[in-house]
Protein backbone atom coordinates (compact mmCIF):
# COMPACT_ATOMS: atom_id res chain seq x y z
CA UNK A 1 0.00 0.00 0.00
CA UNK A 2 1.50 3.36 -1.03
CA UNK A 3 1.77 6.39 1.19
CA UNK A 4 -0.98 7.99 -0.88
CA UNK A 5 -3.30 5.01 -0.30
CA UNK A 6 -2.64 5.26 3.43
CA UNK A 7 -3.49 8.96 3.54
CA UNK A 8 -6.58 8.81 1.35
CA UNK A 9 -7.82 5.59 2.88
CA UNK A 10 -7.48 6.67 6.49
CA UNK A 11 -9.99 9.49 6.69
CA UNK A 12 -11.58 9.79 10.12
CA UNK A 13 -15.34 9.45 9.64
CA UNK A 14 -17.46 12.37 10.75
CA UNK A 15 -20.51 11.79 12.94
CA UNK A 16 -23.86 13.25 11.87
CA UNK A 17 -25.31 15.95 14.11
CA UNK A 18 -27.72 14.41 16.67
CA UNK A 19 -30.75 16.16 15.16
CA UNK A 20 -29.87 15.34 11.55
CA UNK A 21 -32.34 12.47 11.09
CA UNK A 22 -35.09 14.46 12.80
CA UNK A 23 -34.47 17.45 10.53
CA UNK A 24 -34.59 15.25 7.45
CA UNK A 25 -37.83 13.63 8.59
CA UNK A 26 -39.35 17.06 9.25
CA UNK A 27 -38.49 18.10 5.69
CA UNK A 28 -39.83 14.80 4.34
CA UNK A 29 -43.14 15.20 6.18
CA UNK A 30 -43.47 18.76 4.87
CA UNK A 31 -42.80 17.48 1.39
CA UNK A 32 -45.40 14.72 1.76
CA UNK A 33 -47.98 17.16 3.11
CA UNK A 34 -47.46 19.72 0.35
CA UNK A 35 -50.13 19.78 -2.35
CA UNK A 36 -49.06 18.25 -5.65
CA UNK A 37 -47.67 20.77 -8.13
CA UNK A 38 -50.14 22.26 -10.59
CA UNK A 39 -49.83 20.37 -13.84
CA UNK A 40 -49.26 22.29 -17.02
CA UNK A 41 -52.51 22.35 -19.02
CA UNK A 42 -51.12 20.52 -22.04
CA UNK A 43 -54.61 19.44 -23.17
CA UNK A 44 -55.86 22.99 -23.44
CA UNK A 45 -52.64 24.19 -25.02
CA UNK A 46 -52.75 21.49 -27.69
CA UNK A 47 -56.44 22.15 -28.41
CA UNK A 48 -55.72 25.84 -28.80
CA UNK A 49 -52.64 25.21 -30.92
CA UNK A 50 -54.58 22.85 -33.21
CA UNK A 51 -57.35 25.44 -33.54
CA UNK A 52 -54.80 28.15 -34.35
CA UNK A 53 -53.24 25.98 -37.01
CA UNK A 54 -56.74 25.33 -38.44
CA UNK A 55 -57.46 29.06 -38.62
CA UNK A 56 -54.20 29.73 -40.41
CA UNK A 57 -54.85 26.98 -42.94
CA UNK A 58 -58.41 28.18 -43.53
CA UNK A 59 -57.37 31.81 -43.86
CA UNK A 60 -54.82 30.78 -46.45
CA UNK A 61 -57.31 28.61 -48.35
CA UNK A 62 -60.29 31.03 -48.40
CA UNK A 63 -59.24 33.13 -51.46
CA UNK A 64 -58.86 29.94 -53.48
CA UNK A 65 -62.43 28.69 -52.83
CA UNK A 66 -65.83 29.61 -54.25
CA UNK A 67 -68.24 32.09 -52.52
CA UNK A 68 -70.46 29.39 -50.89
CA UNK A 69 -67.59 27.39 -49.54
CA UNK A 70 -65.93 30.56 -48.34
CA UNK A 71 -69.07 31.53 -46.43
CA UNK A 72 -69.19 28.10 -44.76
CA UNK A 73 -65.56 28.43 -43.88
CA UNK A 74 -66.12 31.88 -42.40
CA UNK A 75 -68.59 30.34 -39.91
CA UNK A 76 -66.05 27.68 -38.96
CA UNK A 77 -63.50 30.44 -38.69
CA UNK A 78 -65.68 32.25 -36.11
CA UNK A 79 -66.10 29.05 -34.14
CA UNK A 80 -62.36 28.42 -34.11
CA UNK A 81 -61.71 32.00 -33.07
CA UNK A 82 -64.05 31.44 -30.14
CA UNK A 83 -62.18 28.23 -29.15
CA UNK A 84 -58.85 30.03 -29.24
CA UNK A 85 -60.03 32.95 -27.16
CA UNK A 86 -61.85 30.81 -24.60
CA UNK A 87 -58.96 28.37 -24.12
CA UNK A 88 -56.58 31.22 -23.31
CA UNK A 89 -53.98 29.73 -25.62
CA UNK A 90 -52.28 33.08 -26.17
CA UNK A 91 -51.61 33.46 -22.46
CA UNK A 92 -50.35 29.90 -22.18
CA UNK A 93 -48.10 30.26 -25.21
CA UNK A 94 -46.77 33.50 -23.75
CA UNK A 95 -46.19 31.78 -20.39
CA UNK A 96 -44.46 28.81 -21.99
CA UNK A 97 -42.23 31.12 -24.03
CA UNK A 98 -41.36 33.20 -20.97
CA UNK A 99 -40.49 30.04 -18.96
CA UNK A 100 -38.35 28.74 -21.79
CA UNK A 101 -36.48 32.05 -22.08
CA UNK A 102 -35.88 32.32 -18.33
CA UNK A 103 -34.51 28.73 -18.19
CA UNK A 104 -32.21 29.45 -21.15
CA UNK A 105 -31.04 32.67 -19.55
CA UNK A 106 -30.29 31.08 -16.15
CA UNK A 107 -28.42 28.19 -17.82
CA UNK A 108 -26.40 30.69 -19.81
CA UNK A 109 -25.53 32.62 -16.66
CA UNK A 110 -24.44 29.51 -14.73
CA UNK A 111 -22.12 28.16 -17.45
Amino acid sequence: MSELDKILGSETPITPAPAFAQNVMRAVRQEAAAPPPIRFPWGRLLTGAAATAGVIVMAGATPLLGAETASGLAQSFDWLKHVILSSGVAWMAGGALLSYLSVKLSLRLTH
Binding site: L8, P13, M25
Partner: protein, 192 residues
Protein backbone atom coordinates in the same frame (compact mmCIF):
# COMPACT_ATOMS: atom_id res chain seq x y z
CA UNK B 1 -23.47 -2.05 5.91
CA UNK B 2 -24.43 -5.42 7.38
CA UNK B 3 -27.72 -7.02 6.48
CA UNK B 4 -29.31 -10.23 7.63
CA UNK B 5 -29.23 -12.74 4.74
CA UNK B 6 -32.61 -13.02 3.07
CA UNK B 7 -33.87 -9.83 4.66
CA UNK B 8 -33.14 -6.45 3.12
CA UNK B 9 -34.27 -3.72 5.51
CA UNK B 10 -34.03 -1.11 2.76
CA UNK B 11 -36.43 -2.93 0.43
CA UNK B 12 -38.87 -3.46 3.28
CA UNK B 13 -38.74 0.20 4.33
CA UNK B 14 -39.06 1.44 0.74
CA UNK B 15 -42.14 -0.74 0.26
CA UNK B 16 -43.69 0.60 3.47
CA UNK B 17 -43.02 4.19 2.39
CA UNK B 18 -44.54 3.53 -1.03
CA UNK B 19 -47.57 2.05 0.76
CA UNK B 20 -48.01 5.37 2.57
CA UNK B 21 -46.11 4.87 5.84
CA UNK B 22 -43.82 7.92 5.76
CA UNK B 23 -42.34 7.10 9.19
CA UNK B 24 -40.66 4.03 7.67
CA UNK B 25 -38.36 6.42 5.84
CA UNK B 26 -36.69 7.25 9.14
CA UNK B 27 -35.12 3.77 9.14
CA UNK B 28 -33.50 4.51 5.78
CA UNK B 29 -32.25 7.92 6.96
CA UNK B 30 -30.77 6.51 10.17
CA UNK B 31 -29.13 3.62 8.35
CA UNK B 32 -27.52 5.76 5.64
CA UNK B 33 -27.01 9.20 7.19
CA UNK B 34 -23.40 8.43 8.18
CA UNK B 35 -22.21 7.15 4.78
CA UNK B 36 -24.00 9.87 2.81
CA UNK B 37 -22.72 12.71 5.01
CA UNK B 38 -19.21 11.28 4.83
CA UNK B 39 -19.36 10.96 1.05
CA UNK B 40 -20.50 14.58 0.75
CA UNK B 41 -17.84 15.67 3.25
CA UNK B 42 -15.10 14.19 1.08
CA UNK B 43 -16.22 16.47 -1.75
CA UNK B 44 -16.60 19.69 0.26
CA UNK B 45 -14.58 19.19 3.48
CA UNK B 46 -17.11 21.14 5.56
CA UNK B 47 -19.40 19.25 7.90
CA UNK B 48 -22.21 21.82 7.80
CA UNK B 49 -22.29 21.82 4.02
CA UNK B 50 -22.00 18.02 3.91
CA UNK B 51 -25.10 17.73 6.11
CA UNK B 52 -26.97 20.20 3.91
CA UNK B 53 -26.12 18.16 0.83
CA UNK B 54 -27.07 14.93 2.61
CA UNK B 55 -30.45 16.38 3.60
CA UNK B 56 -31.10 17.28 -0.03
CA UNK B 57 -30.08 13.75 -1.03
CA UNK B 58 -32.58 12.15 1.36
CA UNK B 59 -35.33 14.52 0.27
CA UNK B 60 -34.64 13.83 -3.39
CA UNK B 61 -34.49 10.08 -2.70
CA UNK B 62 -37.85 10.28 -0.93
CA UNK B 63 -39.41 12.01 -3.92
CA UNK B 64 -37.88 9.52 -6.37
CA UNK B 65 -38.36 6.30 -4.39
CA UNK B 66 -40.58 4.90 -7.13
CA UNK B 67 -37.58 5.21 -9.44
CA UNK B 68 -35.67 2.55 -7.50
CA UNK B 69 -36.76 -0.70 -9.09
CA UNK B 70 -34.75 -3.03 -6.93
CA UNK B 71 -32.50 -4.11 -9.83
CA UNK B 72 -29.47 -2.62 -8.07
CA UNK B 73 -28.81 -2.43 -4.36
CA UNK B 74 -30.58 0.44 -2.64
CA UNK B 75 -27.23 1.73 -1.38
CA UNK B 76 -25.83 1.89 -4.96
CA UNK B 77 -28.87 3.86 -6.06
CA UNK B 78 -28.59 6.21 -3.07
CA UNK B 79 -24.84 6.74 -3.53
CA UNK B 80 -25.31 7.52 -7.23
CA UNK B 81 -27.98 10.04 -6.29
CA UNK B 82 -25.68 11.54 -3.65
CA UNK B 83 -22.87 11.81 -6.17
CA UNK B 84 -25.15 13.72 -8.55
CA UNK B 85 -26.15 16.06 -5.74
CA UNK B 86 -22.49 16.65 -4.82
CA UNK B 87 -21.73 17.38 -8.47
CA UNK B 88 -24.46 19.98 -8.79
CA UNK B 89 -23.64 21.63 -5.45
CA UNK B 90 -19.89 21.69 -6.07
CA UNK B 91 -20.41 23.15 -9.54
CA UNK B 92 -21.81 26.19 -7.81
CA UNK B 93 -19.28 26.18 -4.97
CA UNK B 94 -16.05 25.49 -6.85
CA UNK B 95 -13.73 23.47 -4.63
CA UNK B 96 -11.02 25.83 -3.49
CA UNK B 97 -7.96 24.70 -1.63
CA UNK B 98 -8.28 26.51 1.63
CA UNK B 99 -5.24 28.25 3.07
CA UNK B 100 -2.69 26.00 4.72
CA UNK B 101 -3.57 27.62 8.07
CA UNK B 102 -7.03 26.11 7.89
CA UNK B 103 -5.65 22.66 7.16
CA UNK B 104 -3.33 23.18 10.14
CA UNK B 105 -6.23 24.21 12.34
CA UNK B 106 -8.34 21.20 11.31
CA UNK B 107 -5.46 18.78 11.60
CA UNK B 108 -4.41 20.19 14.94
CA UNK B 109 -7.78 19.70 16.66
CA UNK B 110 -7.27 17.16 19.41
CA UNK B 111 -4.16 15.69 17.80
CA UNK B 112 -1.10 14.78 19.87
CA UNK B 113 2.04 16.73 18.85
CA UNK B 114 3.74 13.72 17.25
CA UNK B 115 0.84 13.20 14.84
CA UNK B 116 0.28 16.88 14.18
CA UNK B 117 2.47 17.19 11.11
CA UNK B 118 1.16 14.00 9.52
CA UNK B 119 -2.45 15.04 10.09
CA UNK B 120 -1.77 18.45 8.57
CA UNK B 121 -0.14 16.92 5.51
CA UNK B 122 -2.95 14.40 5.10
CA UNK B 123 -5.51 17.18 5.16
CA UNK B 124 -3.58 19.13 2.54
CA UNK B 125 -3.35 16.05 0.29
CA UNK B 126 -7.13 15.48 0.58
CA UNK B 127 -7.71 19.10 -0.38
CA UNK B 128 -5.35 18.72 -3.33
CA UNK B 129 -7.55 15.85 -4.58
CA UNK B 130 -10.42 18.35 -4.84
CA UNK B 131 -8.35 20.43 -7.26
CA UNK B 132 -8.11 17.60 -9.79
CA UNK B 133 -10.29 17.62 -12.91
CA UNK B 134 -13.76 16.28 -12.15
CA UNK B 135 -13.47 12.73 -13.52
CA UNK B 136 -10.23 12.02 -11.64
CA UNK B 137 -11.41 13.76 -8.50
CA UNK B 138 -14.61 11.68 -8.42
CA UNK B 139 -12.78 8.44 -9.17
CA UNK B 140 -10.33 8.96 -6.30
CA UNK B 141 -12.86 10.24 -3.76
CA UNK B 142 -15.41 7.49 -4.44
CA UNK B 143 -12.79 4.72 -4.62
CA UNK B 144 -11.36 5.54 -1.21
CA UNK B 145 -14.83 6.17 0.21
CA UNK B 146 -15.67 2.57 -0.73
CA UNK B 147 -12.54 1.29 1.05
CA UNK B 148 -10.73 0.87 -2.27
CA UNK B 149 -13.38 -1.44 -3.74
CA UNK B 150 -13.32 -1.10 -7.53
CA UNK B 151 -16.72 -2.81 -8.16
CA UNK B 152 -18.54 -0.64 -5.60
CA UNK B 153 -16.90 2.59 -6.77
CA UNK B 154 -17.64 1.76 -10.40
CA UNK B 155 -21.30 1.08 -9.50
CA UNK B 156 -21.60 4.44 -7.73
CA UNK B 157 -19.93 6.27 -10.62
CA UNK B 158 -21.88 4.21 -13.19
CA UNK B 159 -18.75 3.55 -15.24
CA UNK B 160 -17.02 0.28 -16.26
CA UNK B 161 -14.39 -1.00 -13.85
CA UNK B 162 -11.67 -0.64 -16.50
CA UNK B 163 -12.50 3.03 -16.96
CA UNK B 164 -12.35 3.56 -13.22
CA UNK B 165 -8.93 1.92 -12.99
CA UNK B 166 -7.61 4.12 -15.81
CA UNK B 167 -8.97 7.23 -14.11
CA UNK B 168 -7.46 6.21 -10.79
CA UNK B 169 -4.08 5.68 -12.41
CA UNK B 170 -4.14 9.05 -14.17
CA UNK B 171 -5.64 10.80 -11.13
CA UNK B 172 -2.86 9.52 -8.87
CA UNK B 173 -0.27 10.71 -11.38
CA UNK B 174 -1.77 14.20 -11.41
CA UNK B 175 -2.03 14.20 -7.64
CA UNK B 176 1.63 13.21 -7.25
CA UNK B 177 2.58 16.14 -9.50
CA UNK B 178 0.55 18.50 -7.33
CA UNK B 179 2.14 17.09 -4.19
CA UNK B 180 5.55 17.37 -5.79
CA UNK B 181 4.91 21.04 -6.44
CA UNK B 182 4.66 21.58 -2.67
CA UNK B 183 8.19 21.27 -1.29
CA UNK B 184 7.14 20.64 2.30
CA UNK B 185 4.98 17.68 1.31
CA UNK B 186 7.31 16.04 -1.18
CA UNK B 187 9.89 14.80 1.33
CA UNK B 188 7.65 13.56 4.12
CA UNK B 189 5.32 11.72 1.71
CA UNK B 190 8.17 10.17 -0.15
CA UNK B 191 6.61 11.20 -3.45
CA UNK B 192 9.21 12.21 -5.98
Amino acid sequence: MNTVPGHDPDSADVQRVLDGDINAYEGIVKRWQGPIINLAYRFCREQGLAEEIAQDVFLKAFKSLKGWRGESRFSSWLFALALNMCRSRMRRLRPVLRPIEEAERIAGTGQPDADYETAEESEIVRRLVLQLPRKYREAIVVFYFHDQSVPEAAATLKIPEGTLKARLHRGRELLRKKIGARPGLTLSLGVA
